[in-house]
């Protein structure tokens, strides 16, 4: 235990002294996340996409729809056409609510039957606003904006109808929530980048480390010392695992602070998934170091494994977006399961049981790699 602890402390120190490795472990994924987030995230200029459903079909309700459509029209300002911060589509209730759940609308506004009748009878007409509660910030903005616009519209209409300056509220807004099952790109990308980062640390970092130790004769020196190989290897792996947790915290912080990622999951579950993923990629790294001849070929082999995995396994874009046959290949990659488990647990708040398949695949993959590593392990 003492040997393990001291070896681990030294290993940790040595890793922290590797400036270049630290860049790849921390700065690189953060940069990557920021770039992807700003390029594809699109949360910089918020355009509300609102579905308007007119179930009343009356003169008044049509006026309301028309009012919304006119707000959504591009405006001419100093000779330049500017898009309005609102996009309006009309359709029936079911269609629009489906779109909302798919994340294609920010909100849906339903003008219920009897809307005009209520107003004519001197009561408030009821309009229901649906928002997607899975994105709290956007839901709040949507609700506020729509409520504001409705009261503005109702005032205009009342003024035109009666000519009076002071008019009572004619429209009452009722809020309803749906839970969407699709999320922002950011919510998709952040767990992906985290999975990628941990894969790199385990796979590339460890393969290179062990192969370098072998090449330099450090493994031989360890062999003639009374410290067992498992103890020695475990201390290096522990370093990677601890750093994986630190990387996770850091990346999530950046994700939350810069892009407002919705972390809906249990932190303990997340840590478990991170560790399982890190261990299975350590095993893969160990396997590559056992099979490769030199440190250089280990690095090359690890890169050759990591790169296609990074692009195929649904890190930057969903596997649904690539051709079917490629998607089949993607689903053979361990990173796919790791990213999927992270995403489910982190964003969608899934339990560990819900991602059992991912866990089983990762654990099985790790065990197979480990067995091969041990079989082909060489001291020199």
């Amino acid at each position: 235990m003492k040997k393990f602890y001291r070896m681990f402390v030294c290993d940790f120190k040595m890793t922290l002294r590797e400036k270049e490795a630290l860049f790849w472990m921390f700065a690189f994924p953060i940069l990557m996340m920021l770039i992807l987030g700003f390029v594809f995230g699109g949360s910089g200029s918020l355009v509300l996409e609102v579905g308007v459903v007119d179930q009343d079909g009356s003169f008044i309700s049509k006026q309301v729809v028309k009012a919304f459509e006119s707000i959504a029209e591009p405006t001419e300002e100093a000779g330049e056409t500017k898009d309005a911060p609102l996009k309006v589509t009309t359709g029936d209730e079911k269609e629009e609510l489906d779109e909302l759940e798919d994340g294609k609308r920010n909100g849906v506004l339903v003008i219920g039957k009897g809307f005009a009748d209520s107003i004519m009878a001197g009561r408030e007409g009821v309009v229901t606003v649906y928002v997607d509660q899975s994105d709290v910030t956007t839901a709040e903005i949507t609700k506020q904006t729509l409520t504001g616009m409705l009261s503005e519209i109702s005032r205009e209409m009342a003024k035109n109808a009666t000519g009076a300056q002071e008019v009572p509220e004619m429209i009452k807004v009722e809020e309803k929530q749906v839970t969407g099952d699709d999320f922002d790109y950011i919510d998709f990308m952040v767990p992906g980048i985290l999975a990628m980062t941990i894969m790199f640390a385990g796979l590339m970092g460890y393969a290179q480390e062990i192969a370098t130790y072998r090449e330099k004769g450090i493994l031989r020196r360890i062999k003639v010392s009374p410290i067992s190989l498992p103890t020695f290897l475990a201390s290096g792996m522990t370093t990677v695992l601890i750093l994986a947790l630190v990387q996770s915290v850091l990346l999530l912080l950046v994700g939350v602070l810069a892009f407002g990622v919705n972390i809906g999951g249990n932190y303990f579950y997340m840590a478990i998934i991170v560790l399982i993923g890190a261990v299975s990629f350590l095993a893969l790294g160990f396997m590559i170091s056992s099979l490769a001849g030199t440190a250089k070929s280990a690095t090359l082999a690890a890169t050759a494994v990591a790169m296609p995995m990074m692009f195929l396994a649904g890190i930057f874009f969903s596997v649904d977006m690539i051709p079917k046959w490629l998607a089949v290949i993607a689903q053979c990659l361990p990173l796919y399961y790791f990213a999927d488990a992270l995403r489910e647990v982190m964003i969608h708040g899934a339990s560990l049981a819900a991602v059992w398949l991912d866990i089983v695949v990762m654990v099985a993959f790790g065990i197979v790699c480990f067995i091969i590593s041990v079989k082909f392990f060489r001291w020199e």
């Binding site: 040997k3 030294c10 004769g217 009374p226």
Partner: protein
């Protein structure tokens, strides 16, 4: 009881018999050298005794412990300096020593060791910033960290300049007074002669001679080596016919020969030069060395 007993040790790599039936007994508290050219099997022999390699056949006992049966126990009582160890570059000297000391139940005081290998000023330096000589000294310190009974040093001065080599020799000399058995491999004649109580000369996986340096020189070669230069050239055979010449080799006009009767040989040399009408100069006479022993037995020089 001898510190190390090796019985009929064999190790092959494919067709190459790296170690081909080596038997040895290394006494307690002696500095024992294994001398030979590169590829003679010195390192392989030593690494089998260190538990680093498995022999194909044969037996090894270190301090009475069977190396093949209980390598773990052997590791705790030996100290090892490997030929090409590069340590964890990103550790400081003291950190590296402290790390290795944690592997052993009993260790020497680190400050004492740092002093012993003369690295006091470098204790807080990164291992990667050490010079070749400092690096070798650190690796010797690491070999001594568990206060081992038996220390194996594999080519402790290879690649060092003469001054750095001297410093390493001084450290090894100090071990003599500390009741340690030291086994070194080397291909430096002077190193073996300067440091070792006894020397085994190895070639092609076999021990071809064993004894104290003096014994070996007495046994295999005459005591004196005379080197000189003949100007202008003469036929080599004329030189070999000089009185008392036992063996020799030439390089152009330069000659080196051994003789048991140096005085007669020198007179004969001058007489020959006079007869041939040539000049013999740059004459140098020295005691025979283990190089001459090796040359005598194998017909080759140790260093290529």
């Amino acid at each position: 009881m001898p510190a190390v007993i090796i019985k009929d040790l064999r190790k092959s790599y494919g067709d190459l018999k790296a170690v081909d039936g080596v038997s040895l007994e290394i006494e307690e508290k002696e500095i024992f050298g294994i001398l030979g050219p590169n590829g003679a099997g010195k390192t392989t022999t030593m690494e089998m005794a260190e538990t680093l390699r498995e022999p194909d056949s044969g037996e090894i006992f270190v301090d009475g412990i069977d190396v093949l049966k209980d390598p773990g126990a052997v590791k705790e009582i030996i100290g090892v300096q490997l030929q090409t160890t590069v340590f964890f570059d990103n550790l400081k000297v003291r950190e590296a020593m402290s790390l290795f000391s944690s592997f052993y139940p009993r260790t020497l005081d680190l400050d004492y060791l740092i002093d012993l290998v003369d690295l006091k000023e470098k204790a807080e330096t990164m291992v990667s910033d050490l010079s070749g000589g400092q690096h070798k000294r650190l690796s010797i310190a690491l070999a001594l960290i568990n206060d081992p009974r038996i220390v194996f040093l594999d080519e402790p001065t290879t690649g060092l300049d003469p001054q750095a080599r001297r410093r390493v020799w001084e450290i090894i000399e100090q071990l003599r007074g500390k009741d340690k058995t030291v086994v070194i491999t080397t291909h430096y004649i002077e190193e073996a002669e300067y440091l070792c109580d006894r020397v085994a000369i190895m070639d092609h996986g076999k021990i071809i001679a064993l004894g104290t340096p003096d014994e070996l020189i007495d046994e295999y070669v005459s005591k004196s080596v005379i080197s000189f230069r003949i100007n202008p050239e003469v036929d080599d055979d004329v030189v070999w016919k000089v009185t008392g010449v036992e063996s020799g080799h030439s390089h152009g006009q330069e000659y080196e020969l051994t003789t048991a009767t140096p005085q007669e040989t020198l007179i004969g040399l001058f007489a020959m030069a006079h007869e041939q009408g040539v000049k013999a100069d740059e004459i140098n006479m020295k005691r025979a060395t283990l190089e001459d022993v090796f040359l005598k037995i194998t017909g080759r020089k140790i260093k290529v």
